[in-house]
């Protein structure tokens, strides 16, 4: 798949880009600065080899034409970043929003959650994008450190919320293509109100146990993915 990662020079975005490149997807790393995007491209090639299908560009250019656009930016910057890419997106494109609304955005603690007026960051994202662009919320339970550590498979489920089942499945396929990763259908977009605060919970647990790769698994079935 042809994927753009907005905020792809950050720890979470870059780790995700590496995982997707490793699964043979074509990834464009987006950044506010074309120069920093280029540096991340060089770093990705250094890690994965010169034949990795990676490119870099300013965010607005990176998202143009991408099948799936993954947005991994701090909550404090999300309104500005979405404003900068909105006019480059077309109906039919899919946006995976991984924003976690944390108190850190207003100078508080990253293990405390913040509730945006719209209910969740993903619902705020949907309000900032043109009609017809599908929004999927996900990846709040996968730590940047876990993604970046390529020696180990990711031991955490990706809980996906969206009102568009096709978009959810498309993002789900992308996730399932990464060895060890698994997606779970966590319901409509409004359920991001339930899944986004999991980032604060995981940060709190990691901090208490002095670990960096705590994650979540849903139990009760052998396989999840799309419901039958």
């Amino acid at each position: 798949m042809d994927v753009a990662v907005v905020g792809g020079t950050g720890a979470e975005g870059f780790g995700l880009a590496l995982r997707l490149l490793g699964a043979d997807h074509s990834v464009t790393i987006g950044s506010r600065s074309a120069e920093r995007a280029g540096e991340a491209v060089a770093k990705a090639r250094e890690t994965l080899g010169a034949d990795a299908l990676v490119g870099g560009a300013e965010n607005a250019k990176a998202v143009t034409g991408a099948e799936v656009v993954i947005v991994t930016v701090p909550f404090a910057g999300m309104i500005e970043i979405y404003g900068s890419i909105a006019s480059s997106l077309q109906p039919g494109q899919v946006v995976l929003d991984a924003t976690s609304p944390l108190m850190a955005a207003v100078g508080g603690k990253p293990w405390e959650a913040l509730r945006p007026w719209q209910g969740s960051a993903a619902e705020l994202a949907a309000a900032l994008l043109p009609e017809g662009v599908a929004v999927v919320a996900g990846f709040h339970t996968v730590a940047a450190h876990t993604l970046a550590n390529l020696d180990r498979e990711v031991d955490s489920d990706a809980l996906l919320c969206s009102d568009d089942d096709d978009a959810k499945r498309r993002v789900g396929e992308l996730i399932d293509s990464v060895p060890g990763m698994r997606w779970v259908d966590a319901g409509p977009l409004a359920n991001a109100r339930l899944t986004e605060p999991l980032t604060a919970l995981i940060i709190s647990i990691n901090r208490r146990y002095r670990v960096r790769d705590g994650g979540f698994r849903i139990t009760g079935r052998e396989s999840w993915g799309a419901p039958k």
Copy 2:
């Protein structure tokens, strides 16, 4: 341990009572009606044998002197129930609140969460109890159906939140004594704002996949329990 289960005739409370009795704890099943408590005691003896350490009483009597009081009641009834037991509780006793604030409490859907004024049901519980009674929030990720199915071990972690580390550890020991169960230190009582909505998420996932025993596991370490 000497445990009282308030709301012990409900599905969640009764399932938990059976698990604790199976681990050789002494359990008093509390109910609004002494008669229904008695029926639950008979049912527990039928399931586990006549030598199970089980008794029954009205809630206020059931909690008197118990080392740990587990409250498993619907959110709509919690203020009334806490009002009925508050004066029977003494400083030093530990209350494990398992209440999930769901929209079902106001005629809405059980897969949508409700936010009480105090932030979480557990913080509301603390406000309703006498000073010196320790409140621990937990068990929002363990389904009644899972607890009642004694043929299978419980495949879901109990995330415990409390401002009292000793109380948290005492409840944690109780949980660890049940085969297959495991507790995770999920931080201060206010973190119940993050863990209580997990009930809505699990109900949503169960519904979507048509299963009844979806649960949560925290990954990233072999063992959890008390942090080192």
